[in-house]
Amino acid sequence: MDICQALIDIIGEDHVSNKQEELYIYSWDLGTTEPHRPDWVASPRTPEEIQKILILANSNNIPVVPLGGGLSLAGLAVPFRGGIILDLKRMDTVIEVNEQARYALLECGVSQGQLTSYLERHHPGLTHSEPGAPPTATIAGNAAIHGQGDLAQPYGFNSDMVNGLEVVLPTGEICRFGSCSIGAQWFTQHPLPDVGLFLGWTGTTGIITKISLRLFPRKKIRGTAIFVVDNEEQVPEIFHKITHTQMSEDIVAFSQTIPPYASGLQHFTINLAADSEKELEFKQELIFDDALGEYIRRGDGGYLGFTRGLQHPQISKTADWRKGGGFEYVGSIMPVSRYPQCYRRGREISERHGIPYTVLGRCIGAAHAMMFSWTYAFNRADRETVRHAREAMHETDELALELGGTIWKPGHYGQKLVMDRLDPNTLDLMKRLKQLLDPNGIMNPGNWEAIP
């Protein structure tokens, strides 16, 4: 069977390729994962087109790898067994924003930047939890990997903000989850059947085609305060003290080699939002006078000011530190109490591999956890630096588990480490679910595949 022609028949010639250029570009992750070429690249526009493609692939045992923004940096959309890469970014319509119920219904290819801009222009009283990724990251992709954004402190993971999903199953059925599944608005996931079958599975159980995402009030004044301490041991209690006030939108602690004056210090960025100067002043007093005042009075910490306006996420300068345009990071979901060890051990790994250290912990919920990341820069033109970064990543995967955390969006190496530790019954359940949903194992093969 001529698969290329079959794909063209489904979505048109302009959006299918088996030419070397597309096969080359879509073989690469942006991190250190080795490339693997797909056999075809296809960019569908509708769930029905995806449905036809999956029926085609399933009946011919062809692997299918869904791709959003391609920014996981963990090799999660590398076609390890070839097959079809589905670039979902053409499905980029903002279908609905419900101001009253505060949600947005989006096609799966809508990007973070696109939603941010759309809300700013059309619904300035609403915002979403924007992750620290480049704006090309997709909303659906980020939720599917349990991403977190700049509202993680009050509202948790972005995957906790999902009201409903439309998914095409590997066998071609289109299913809806949440209130939309009974024909109601897309306003709640609960108490109907769970969307968890498709979040965190890295595209191995189906392809998300629509997502309803919770939106939140956007206050008139938003900005970032900076607080700094020189003792990493104080970071967990500072997270606890700030979250106790319930006054912040986002709390991130970070430390990095560059610039040198910041090396060894622990900086906090604390996002505040208010509708009036009075509200802003009140929040600042509660945080910096009451909660953190003792550190300032003792000389242990310093308040470095408040800057109005939130910066959209920018690619870290760390990315190009080696003048090589490459970086990758290990993310973990970690108890906040582990910040000091995460910082010190991560710094050691970086120094061992000759890479300037960059670490970051974002508070999730009321200090219920943090996303702690260790970033490693490399030079794409220098394979030795790529090797160092990859080895540092593997060591850090092991460190994350050793310190009592879980690896966030693990790549193959991390997935193996996680599965080695998984409760056998849980692993067995995962295997049965995978078998049920994807009987021919066509979806993103290579991921979570060591399931026995």
Partner: protein, 404 residues
């Protein structure tokens, strides 16, 4: 390929492919790269082109017609350079030009590009129309040959040869004359400015054209130049000085803005119509002239000016740069940038889409036809709107033209 032959081999690997280059400054969509908007494959994004170029240079992939198509679909619109957050941003277009240049050296460029460049070499224009017809655009309009007037009026290849752009070129001449501007043209002796040849990687051809133009301008004693095309404006203003060609160069909108401010253009006729404006890349992003066209439009009596959602530095290229107004590598689809752009113009409820570039004029007008919007949207050059509003002082009372 030998990567050492490539001038930018020390930086081309620094593209992360983060994708910022796809966005406008206000982030409203991921398709502000015209080639990516048309094809929506990563290969056609700025990052894709850079990664493919590097792959070609390092023999990870071989040259192919498709690779050449991908590179030549870049319109040099500069959106990527404005959005890239990394230090390589100032050289992105240089890298793409250099890659095209290697293809030129090897004689392996798309047929459409080869025809374009051959026609420039042989006929002095990309259309392959004889040089002898270059002055035909003037028709019966009485326009003086340049012989020492204050300004040389350069119409460029599109203004000289494309039927629709010829109208705009003649209209501008009429407007300038009414305003009492001292100008002349080279008519059949005018030469291509070379802006497209440079962006298509034919640096040598560009140098030849620049030197020939500069020699001619100097021989004629030209000090000041008005251009119809932002592409000519860009070449004369930014590239000719390094070839010892230093002239005071104005895009015509900049001159009209001054003339209006000085009361030398009597626009008394009401033109009661909603107008939106498309920023040409070589006037806007390349030369940061966003205000002059808007000030002119806001000066036309009766005009209600409405911005498109993507405007100024956020503007979506019409898809005509880098020779694509002629090669048309981005055409043939509802996703073609010009078709996207006219739909955006229509969404403003404007009746007229104003432009200030003859390439944009012809491409947008074609797009309006293909979209079937002829009865809802009219593409006009700004000079044509000014002309429409002009009236002799003696006739100025109470005149009004109908909303088209």
């Amino acid at each position: 390929m030998n990567a050492a032959e490539f001038q930018y081999s020390d930086i081309i690997h620094r593209c992360f492919r983060c994708g910022y280059c796809k966005f406008p400054v206000n982030w409203m969509d991921v398709n502000n790269c015209p080639a990516y908007a048309r094809y929506r494959m990563e290969t056609y994004s700025c990052g894709g082109r850079l990664w493919l170029t590097r792959a070609w240079l390092t023999d990870a992939i071989k040259w192919s017609d498709h690779l050449a198509h991908i590179l030549y679909s870049c319109t040099s619109c500069k959106n990527c350079e404005m959005k890239c957050p990394l230090g390589i941003n100032v050289d992105i277009i240089n890298m793409i030009r250099a890659a095209k240049g290697l293809m030129v050296e090897q004689g392996r460029i798309p047929k459409e590009a080869r025809d374009f460049l051959e026609n420039i070499q042989v006929h002095g224009n990309p259309y392959g129309i004889p040089r002898s017809k270059r002055g035909d655009w003037m028709g019966e309009t009485p326009i003086e040959q340049y012989n020492g007037q204050e300004y040389l009026y350069h119409v460029g290849c599109v203004g000289a040869y494309d039927t629709r752009a010829q109208e705009a070129a003649r209209t501008l001449a009429r407007v300038l004359k009414r305003a009492g501007v001292s100008f002349g043209v080279l008519g059949g002796d005018e030469l291509c400015d070379g802006n497209e040849a440079k962006n298509m990687g034919e640096e040598a051809l560009f140098e030849d054209m620049a030197q020939e133009n500069i020699a001619r301008f100097n021989e004629l004693g030209v000090k000041k130049i008005i251009t119809l095309s932002p592409h000519s404006y860009n070449a004369f203003k930014n590239d000719y000085p390094s070839n010892e060609g230093r002239f005071e160069v104005l895009h015509y909108t900049q001159l009209l803005q001054r003339l209006i401010a000085r009361g030398r253009l009597n626009m008394a006729i009401q033109v009661p119509v909603k107008v939106t404006y498309h920023d040409p890349c070589f006037l806007g992003r390349w030369n940061t002239e966003y205000d002059a066209p808007r000030e002119i439009l806001n000066s036309v009596p009766g005009v209600t000016f409405i911005e498109m959602e993507r405007s100024r530095e956020n503007s979506l290229c019409c898809g005509g740069g880098g020779g694509n107004f002629c090669m048309d590598l981005l055409g043939g689809s509802p996703d073609s940038p010009a078709r996207r752009r006219v739909r955006e113009a229509l969404a403003t409820d404007a009746r007229i889409l104003a432009v200030s570039c003859p390439k944009c004029l012809t491409i947008m007008e074609d797009a309006v036809k293909v979209e079937g919007l002829d009865d809802r949207l009219i593409v006009k050059d700004i000079a044509e709107l000014v002309d429409q509003a002009y009236i002799k002082k003696t006739e100025a009372e109470g005149k009004q033209v109908k909303d088209e």
